[in-house]
């Protein structure tokens, strides 16, 4: 077997040769999902509950975010939880509810995969595969995502530099899948008044260094629902191609991430406020049905 020479510092291609690099591909990558364009001129809104908890919760929340202006529905069937004794997600049952929600609302869905063995199953049900921040360095999982035919929403690890994040994305692209949506979701710092520190400067840096779409998750990035609107607006002002927010029809009863989930009414207001910022930077929120505007 022939093995490459040199250590980690010397051993990868020069950054200009990386598939994620803008020098390798000048034009923005625009990802199409059921007619929606991610990374194009319009910005997109992904919304939904942290976890799929039961059929009613998902379908109710799906209807709310759909009529409120979301373009894509989020919801976790497999949940990475800090404690093994926390709710771990409904698994395939959750995936089935997501399918129902898609049928009901017409919204494409995004859901997380955590295990290489789940990849095939999750791919069958979802429109976009999510790889969460705790899995950013799960290289076998990245390779599997690279082999599948679905777009990948790939979150930055909470401990990852921008360099490491892009090299991890390279694992997906190097397997032949360039449909990767980057997502800033907060990094770990010494500050304790937020759950994480949302690193919005990563937006212009990623947009300059790569051709991939960049969105922001202010729900995980702050950990407090009352901070979500300000940071969502800031993200769009800084050049993000979209946001992903957690909305729950009854946040106080959420099995996961209740404190950072916003109320349905607040979501409706948030979309209106984001539209204003989008206009101020020469963009608008993507609309399936223009009559809604």
């Amino acid at each position: 077997m022939e093995t490459p020479k040199g250590d980690s510092q010397k051993n990868y291609r020069s950054s200009g040769d990386l598939l994620t690099n803008r020098q390798a591909k000048k034009d923005d990558t625009v990802i199409k999902v059921k007619g929606i364009e991610i990374g194009g001129r319009d910005i997109i809104i992904i919304a939904g509950p942290c976890a799929v908890e039961n059929k009613e919760q998902l379908l109710e929340t799906a209807k709310i975010v759909s009529s409120g202006g979301a373009n894509i529905l989020r919801g976790g069937a497999y949940k990475p939880r800090t404690s093994p004794y926390s709710f771990q997600g409904l698994g395939e049952e959750g995936l089935k509810y997501l399918s129902e929600a898609r049928k009901l609302t017409g919204l494409p869905v995004v859901t997380e995969v955590m295990d290489t063995r789940q990849m095939e199953l999750v791919c069958k049900y979802t429109d976009i595969i999510q790889i969460g921040s705790r899995s950013m360095h799960n290289f076998p999982l990245l390779k599997e995502a690279g082999k599948c035919r679905k777009p990948v929403l790939f979150k930055r690890g909470l401990m990852a530099t921008v360099d490491e994040y892009l090299l991890a994305a390279e694992y997906i692209l190097s397997e032949g899948n360039d449909q990767v949506i980057l997502c800033e979701r907060g990094i770990r710092t010494f500050e304790t008044s937020t759950r994480h520190t949302l690193d919005l400067s990563a937006i212009p840096i990623l947009k300059r260094r790569t051709h991939l779409p960049v969105i922001v998750d202010p729900s995980h990035g702050t950990g407090h629902s009352w901070l979500v609107p300000a940071m969502a607006k800031a993200a769009i002002a800084a050049g993000a191609d979209g946001i992903m927010v957690e909305v729950h029809y009854k946040p106080l009863e959420a099995l996961s991430d209740g404190p950072q989930s916003i109320y349905p009414n607040d979501f409706v207001q948030l979309v209106k406020d984001i539209e204003k910022i989008a206009r101020a930077v020469g963009r608008k929120i993507y609309r399936h049905n223009l009559s809604l505007t």
Copy 2:
């Protein structure tokens, strides 16, 4: 001598009793400097060179930022530099040039003080006293700033939590000076693609917890001039009452912070872009002379 009891955890007032706390004073503190209101409905722009390097540099840059839409002129006469062999500022000579620049443009000036022994001198020349991030925990200096009659632009330390920052501001207020402008300017994290990580979530947190004006310095917060426009817009979208940016008439020749100083033309464009964001959040940039708009 009577000494208080208990350790640091127990020994300070409950947070609701702190002078900086919004519970202690519900209304926003609006600071007036030569007719400009900081922390009111309008947002303000502070601009100028990092350091006062010589008369020509300061006056030229002052004219540029004044005509470009700045409300207040910044410039350092005393510079805290990492190395003792770097340019340390012009001292009183620099303060005199700032006075000339004020006369020339009509803009009030803000400049940093680093030493309790300089306080009286700096106060004589400046409209706003700046206390820099490296001095955030210089308690004797904070007390002196609290005793003087000038507004204080008080920067967050790059290692300070929001809690520590507000307790440090309390040192100024507890001496009788409540004219304090808070300023987020980046915190230290593991990320290396920026000089610091601009913590924009601190804006809504500070606005909720205190009645003091909150501005943002995207120049120090990022360390790269090309990141300044995106982060300045994001700051206003997140609710900041103003921004402070470094502008140099010849950035490549700057004695300090050249890489993060923007060009005059970029400043003009930045003000226009900020105005759009300000409108999107129901505000506008303060204008001395309304005919300029």
Copy 3:
């Protein structure tokens, strides 16, 4: 389906009920591997190359560390690499060389597993399963490790608090495997003169809060071979039950982690120096064959 109530904060057992907690099991867990006791009175030395690169490199290094005083041989067959274009390990071929090295030296071996699908294969070849820092939050992998019958060397994530680390270990124990060796290997901080910051205070904290053995990896923890001896000694002085160090017979030619691998001669000296520190804290290095001492 019955689902648990409450969010992540409320949803796990009280810390005293956790299987990792010393309140749940007062006596130290002592793990036996081919007659070696880990977490007992003696301290243990794990040494070997970062990656298994070829048969000669592994066998030569194995002989060196064995005669130098190592108790367990390390070597990676599957390597988590920041870039997809870096050497990724030899896979099963590497596992076979590890078997040969074990036969040659009599030392038990430890090697990393990264993918749930590899667990069965790796278990077949290795004496101790390693879960690396990048996989600390790979919950499906932790559950698989919990189901297997081999001891697990479980490294702390480079951005994980002690609390999160112990909750992640709980995933392994809650599946029925309490043979878990904890390993501090450096956390990510702002400091750039080391690769990571070795958090030695985690040793007494972990020893107090849990009954599990705690070892330290000063090679990854510092990233510089010349720092390894000082930090290895400090680890033992602070109460660690052992150390794991990277040794390469030709560090300059290493395919991975060359800069942090020590030379064979330095390893021999290191073991002697550690023995002195061990004696100063009332312990000694475990010896298979006492005639070696």
Copy 4:
């Protein structure tokens, strides 16, 4: 006025030219204070209360640490406190008690100075001037310390890289005072189970890069008295020239830092344990009176 050219990156001497650098001075700097050598073959123990609270507390604690084996007495007369409402120190009264304690025990004293205006007064009373971590970037204060004739115990800032720390020390040396004792006392990280993260790898790094003595403060570095012994031993094992610990005759009544102060009995045991580690690395604790050993 002639001003230097270039920005902060270019403007300081090459590191080999820095006065702190070992290339500039190959031999270790050994600082003599009343016959004690700091940075020589023997290690030294600095102990005492965080703050001088009253005469009895200081004199009682001084007697305890003196008979327990301390070489130098510490105690703060001016205290940098996070909140303005916490105990701020006794000021000159505290300095007088320190003089009394020195007379009583024969131990030299070290105390902190926070304000350029206090420098002359503090110098008059103390044997070693301490500059605390919050003042590490107080450049005017560093320059004043550089002008005085007393040794300076100079603590690392809690968010300072080793590079920044050495450049700050350079401010003292460049004014003509090379009697500088470096002190690692914990850096700020995301970890919350300790007050700070004691960065022991800084010891070998500083010893390699500079000729100055390096000590460690495990009391501030951990924030918990029960962690002090383990980390003090680790510091000596890693090559530190001494340690500084907080001892209080009644920790539960301490006005400052009670939770990290150790009991008199624990101090006596700690000195014995440190002696063993010192011997294991070929050193010993400095003894005024050899009959004590």
